[in-house]
């Protein structure tokens, strides 16, 4: 048979493409639908947040951390607050810590809802996405009552939180928790165990535990590959050591451990754990007491280098700070989960189809602002 001369096709996926959720860009070399090479291109959402930090006082940087990860803003706030408190040996009242746990877990849950929902909608199932957003909307309402903001919350402060919970708020949180677990079960029936959905995600884009660690993946992406690591448990901060929760790890239940479905399933299970954490924290919340360490003193961190990591919705969110003893940090570097996740798309996508790349992006829960900061 005569050889047909063919050449690879260069496809630009993004920065404006429906499944890149924001401004990701992949340059694909494809043979028809098969991807030969996938080059992720970052930098479309760079806002110099790390550089901005050098010109601000420690507490002034808080609203900027919202913009690092606007899908789970309180998680990013929390990380920065914990970093500053560790540097200066600052204490936080119990009420403040518990409100942090409640709000951070609610936001983590909301972020996972967006992740699993958009993963499903990328696979063509639009309805689960809307069901997920319906639940997220309830979280947004609760957080709005707490601090007035729905997206960029700017809620956590160095030494506590900005607002005390309004009257009756904790009851509303508990009511939400009661209604949420059945909603997750419904979500599972609707999409998680759907045959087509399983066929699309299971055994696709498997990340081995060694690869996951080598590429610096973190959070649910790391745990789905079987690495049992969670900053809340293994590098504890705040009140997390006193609360009990399970860390779901990928089991390869429907295919190979570390496939797209495992990552999806890890997030669904984590949402359930979040509800447990919220309930425990609400139970422990004292009737009254300060939510904020009101020390009328300028915050200064002693000179030195610090790296503090907390568990955000997308995994380890680390702040590396070089302090010179003044009111402002000398240098801040933020380590985020999405950047690491973006880097592994290149080896993962090789040999798969375009439709699989969409599944990979969705299952890794890549959030564009987190990549670039």
């Amino acid at each position: 048979m005569a050889e047909v001369k063919t050449e690879l096709m260069t496809l630009n996926m993004g920065p404006v493409h429906p499944s890149t959720h924001g401004v990701l860009r992949f340059q694909l070399e494809t043979d028809g639908e098969i991807i030969h090479q996938c080059v992720p291109d970052v930098g479309y959402l760079h806002r110099s947040i790390e550089k901005i930090a050098e010109g601000l006082e420690y507490f002034q940087f808080m609203p900027f951390t919202d913009r690092v990860d606007y899908v789970a803003a309180i998680n990013a706030n929390h990380g920065w607050a914990v970093t500053c408190e560790r540097m200066a040996g600052h204490a936080v009242p119990e009420r403040g810590e518990l409100l942090r746990v409640i709000s951070a877990e609610l936001v983590r849950l909301a972020s996972h809802l967006v992740a699993v929902g958009s993963n499903a909608s990328d696979m063509g199932a639009v309805t689960p996405f809307l069901h997920a957003l319906r639940e997220r909307e309830k979280v947004n309402d609760l957080i709005e009552e707490l601090c007035g903001a729905r997206l960029t919350h700017n809620y956590v402060r160095i030494g506590g939180v900005s607002h005390d919970a309004p009257k009756g708020w904790t009851d509303k949180v508990l009511r939400f928790c009661d209604g949420f677990l059945p909603a997750v079960d419904e979500f599972d029936r609707l999409i998680t165990f759907n045959r087509i959905f399983r066929a699309r995600l299971a055994k696709v884009a498997v990340i081995s535990a060694a690869d996951a660690m080598a590429y610096g993946l973190c959070g649910p992406n790391l745990r789905a590959s079987g690495v049992d690591f969670d900053c809340r448990r293994d590098d504890p901060y705040g009140l997390y050591p006193e609360l009990s929760f399970k860390v779901p790890v990928g089991q390869g239940r429907l295919g190979t451990r570390g496939d797209c479905w495992d990552r999806f399933w890890c997030r669904v299970q984590e949402m359930r754990e979040c509800v447990g954490l919220v309930r425990q924290a609400v139970e422990r919340l004292p009737r009254s007491g300060p939510e904020f360490w009101n020390e009328k003193k300028v915050f200064k961190a002693p000179a030195g280098e610090y790296y503090v990591r907390t568990e955000s919705a997308r995994g380890e969110l680390g702040y590396y700070v070089v302090a010179d003893g003044g009111k402002q940090p000398h240098r801040v570097k933020i380590r985020t989960g999405s950047f690491a996740a973006m880097s592994i798309t290149e080896p993962l996508a090789r040999g798969l189809m375009i439709a699989d790349l969409v599944a990979i992006i969705g299952s890794l829960d890549i959030v564009a602002p987190e990549i670039d900061r």
């Binding site: 696979m123 063509g124 809307l130 319906r134 609707l190 439709a355 969409v358």
Partner: protein, 368 residues
């Protein structure tokens, strides 16, 4: 309708040229009727789809234009007509312009043989089923053409996907139609429907004629979903993968024409399934008598209700299921549907020979 036209011509017995002009006018009028009907149905279906989707997704859907928002499709149509018509640079302009109309024409032509009622068939062709399969192939030509002419790689991928998909799924569709043709002994849709009347109620329908016809219905329904590019088989326009597939570069009314074609196809697929498997205008207890106007209208109503039930099913499937991958789609077709369809055809033929053409109902009734 043919007889009606012939009757009119005979009545007036006009001389040659006037007669020809009159026939020409009638053809144009008939085409306009079909096209208008198709547009109306497609428009109403877009409304139905959005309301069904709203119900499934905890929202309301369009409810502002007209009572309950039923005129939303008119507003959308006006909007699409008024929109700027953009043709991308370096596009193959003639093909780009032609493609949507080819898609719509392929769809509209199938309406010609659709037996909406005993007396409501535009033309009761004696090769109706073959005609149906033939004209729907025009659609894939249009889609491939639009994908190629757009000068956009995503559109091209969409066009290729569509070509592969429709060509593959025509096989199980055709084989399932063949099963019914074997049972009925006719290629005319009206005769196939008429053959499903009589005592026994719904058990007379081809669906319950024998177990293989029952299977054939599901094979037909699944492949028809795929031919129609509906979820879970909507890979040619998979919006999260191919932006919008073959119609990415289209805007204005050309974009609208694609959608009229797509939504009219939903209606047609349901109509064909109703006629071939679900007894068409027959329903136990409903006196459908072609001689009286009321009886004929009742028959049409039964047909419409049945096909609308199928339409609702298709809409709900769309909003419930995720999308299969392109290789899985081909796997479903060639590994499962085609063998099952071949099996159905062979076994139906064997059944006819073995039981002398009697259906399941006749056999069971014969026992008593």
């Amino acid at each position: 309708m043919e007889q009606w036209i012939a009757g009119l011509i005979a009545e007036h017995s006009l001389p040659g040229p006037v007669w020809a002009i009159q026939l020409g006018f009638m053809l144009v009028a008939a085409f306009l009727c079909i096209a208008l009907y198709a547009c109306l149905v497609a428009g109403l279906l877009t409304f139905a789809e959005r309301r069904v989707a709203g119900k499934i997704q905890n929202r309301i859907g369009p409810n502002r234009v007209g009572p309950q928002g039923i005129l939303q499709f008119v507003a959308d149509g006006v909007k699409l007509i008024l929109k700027e018509d953009i043709i991308p640079a370096d596009a193959d302009r003639p093909l780009f312009r032609l493609a949507p109309y080819l898609v719509a024409t392929g769809t509209f032509l199938t309406l010609v043989v659709m037996p909406w009622g005993q007396r409501l068939v535009v033309s009761d062709l004696n090769v109706g089923v073959v005609y149906l399969v033939a004209v729907t192939s025009l659609v894939v030509a249009g889609i491939l053409m639009s994908g190629w002419a757009s000068n956009n790689k995503w559109s091209l991928l969409g066009g290729f996907r569509s070509a592969a998909q429709v060509v593959s799924y025509e096989v199980p569709t055709g084989l399932s139609l063949l099963t019914v043709v074997i049972l009925s002994g006719s290629l005319s849709l009206s005769e196939i429907v008429a053959g499903q009347a009589g005592g026994g109620g719904i058990l007379r329908w081809n669906l319950f004629h024998n177990p293989f016809a029952f299977l054939a219905f599901f094979v037909f329904f699944i492949s028809a979903l795929a031919e129609n590019n509906r979820l879970p088989f909507d890979i040619p326009e998979a919006e999260s993968e191919l932006v919008s597939g073959y119609n990415t570069e289209y805007s204005g009314i050309r974009f609208g024409v694609f959608f009229i074609g797509e939504f009219a196809t939903i209606w047609i697929v349901s109509g064909v399934a109703t006629a071939l498997f679900l007894g068409g205008w027959n329903f136990p207890g409903v006196p459908v008598d072609p001689r009286s106007f009321g009886g004929a209208a009742l028959g049409t109503l039964v047909f419409l209700v049945k096909s609308f039930a199928l339409v609702l099913l298709i809409l709900q499937i769309r909003w419930t299921l995720p999308r299969v991958r392109v290789d899985q789609l081909m796997g479903i077709c060639w590994k499962y549907l085609v063998p099952i369809a071949v099996f159905n055809v062979v076994m139906s033929a064997v059944w006819l020979v073995a039981f002398k053409g009697r259906g399941l109902y006749d056999l069971v009734a014969g026992l008593f």
